[in-house]
């Protein structure tokens, strides 16, 4: 995949998907660091949330991301046998499998949920995972179906126009001033 980001595939309305990535600290986060150090350019739609291990990732995180307007998610960690904590990814794999299958049963397009193993040395794989997820979700369009579940009294300020991804967070964030 080339370094240049192909934005020609963007939908006519200029939709740019928002994707939340849940990644483990030891493999994928470090792999994403390596992608940076290697200057591997990729789509800018993905926001990473760092966790110690895929074992820490609760399927509720993914539901929450969809609830909050994510169009897609990426879940990524150490390859089998490489887990920093020996077996966290094996336990995660079972939970993700059940989650993946049940979400598909309920009618969520599995292409909105990318699961991958990306090691600390796979910067280029991370780039490919990111770009592929962005391309897939871009083609699927905004996850309006999930957003439509929201209570009607909540503002439905669906981002629009090119650069929606880059829309300043102030467009919607209801930050807790705790």
């Amino acid at each position: 995949m080339s370094d240049a980001i192909d934005t020609s595939g963007a939908a006519a309305d200029g939709f740019e998907p928002r994707i939340t990535a849940f990644v483990c600290n030891w493999c994928t986060y470090t792999g994403a660091d390596l992608a940076g150090t290697s200057r591997l350019h990729m789509a800018s739609n993905v926001r990473i949330i760092r966790l110690p291990c895929t074992g820490r990732i609760d399927p509720l995180f993914i539901i929450k991301a969809f609830e909050r307007g994510a169009d897609g998610v990426i879940v990524s960690g150490c390859h089998p046998a490489d887990c920093h904590y020996t077996s966290g990814n094996y336990h995660a794999r079972r939970r993700f499998a059940v989650f993946h299958d049940i979400m598909e049963f309920i009618g969520v397009d599995p292409r909105r949920m990318t699961f991958s193993w990306v090691s600390a040395s796979e910067g280029s794989k991370w780039r490919d995972v990111v770009n592929e997820a962005v391309t897939n979700v871009r083609a699927l369009g905004p996850f309006e179906a999930y957003r439509a579940l929201a209570p009607k009294d909540v503002g439905v300020a669906a981002p629009a126009g090119p650069g929606a991804v880059a829309a300043p967070a102030s467009a919607g964030i209801k930050a807790e001033a705790s």
Binding site: I63, R95, F96, A97, I106, S116, Y146, L149
Partner: protein, 293 residues
């Protein structure tokens, strides 16, 4: 029936247990019964109306039941699986209960009938078809005669799951959002579930609140997905959640799908053997991972 009455009487008289939890006949059909007096044991019944999973009363946090003293519990095959689930999760001591197993050839969909009727394709609880535990093994006493296989319902749950899966994603989404939008968040499904035994359900957790508590489609979706995930590899398919749901959400379809997932992926079937480790919390190095890039 006599052997059930006699056994119950003996257990109560000799002090083995302080209460027998079983079923009795009442004005509106079969209902759970708590027998503490040996003289009352003749009230106990077991027939096709005895659909209730009484294991829900073993929840260690049901103080009013615990106060009655040591329990003798009448269990069908599916109920025994729920007992195994509680033992597996350290919620019970095996020595603290006496299990009276009854051989079961299936139950009705409905308990509220004045008299037990024979099972037919029209009235059988669909989940009973294909039951693999008509003779519970996790018991101290086993009563009744060997029962025939329950009749095949007009449409089996597997067929319904299959039919739903044959529909495109959008239609499935539309189906489930419609079903879940009916949810009033009464949590009857949770209260009646023999395995939902948490002190504080995740649905009631604040700081942070993961699941919207008011009954709107978004919160309902998270609640129902969460309920499903929490029962993966644990659900014993007793059907109580669906039976109690006041708005008629077809939860048995979700439950059956979960069973299919753990069976296809991990070769796991929920059984009444407490030593049989649950699939979530366990793993194999070569677990299927075709969905992972």
């Amino acid at each position: 029936m006599n052997e059930l009455h006699e056994l119950a009487r003996t257990l109560l008289t000799d002090g083995t247990v302080r209460v027998i939890i079983g079923w009795e006949d009442a004005r509106r059909g079969a209902r759970p019964a708590f027998i503490t007096d040996p003289a009352d044991t003749d009230k106990l019944i077991f027939d096709t109306r005895c659909v209730h999973n009484l294991v829900t009363y073993l929840n260690p946090r049901r103080d009013n039941v615990a106060e009655l003293g040591k329990i003798g519990l009448v269990v069908k095959g599916c109920d025994a699986k729920a007992v195994a689930g509680l033992l597996r999760e350290a919620q019970l001591n095996r020595d603290d209960i006496v299990l009276i197993g009854v051989r079961c050839g299936g139950v009705l969909e409905e308990s509220e009938l004045a008299e037990a009727v024979a099972l037919s394709a029209e009235n059988v609880a669909p989940r009973c078809f294909g039951c693999d535990n008509r003779e519970p093994k996790l018991v101290d006493h086993l009563l009744g005669e060997a029962q025939p296989e329950p009749p095949r319902p007009i449409m089996t749950i597997d067929e319904r799951v299959e039919a739903l899966e044959a529909r495109p994603l959008e239609e499935r989404w539309a189906f489930w959002t419609e079903q879940f939008s009916k949810c009033v968040r009464c949590y009857a499904c949770r209260q009646v579930c023999p395995l939902c035994v948490c002190e504080r359900c995740v649905a009631e957790k604040t700081r942070p609140q993961w699941i919207d508590s008011s009954a709107h489609p978004r919160g309902n979706m998270s609640w129902n997905i969460t309920r499903a995930l929490h029962l993966a590899g644990r659900c014993v398919d007793c059907g109580e959640c669906e039976r109690f749901c006041p708005v008629g959400i077809p939860l048995s379809l979700v439950n059956r799908k979960l069973q299919q997932i753990v069976s296809e992926r991990y070769g796991y079937t929920v059984s009444d053997d407490p030593e049989n480790a649950a699939p979530i919390g366990d793993y194999r190095l070569d677990d299927k991972q075709e969905f992972i890039k």
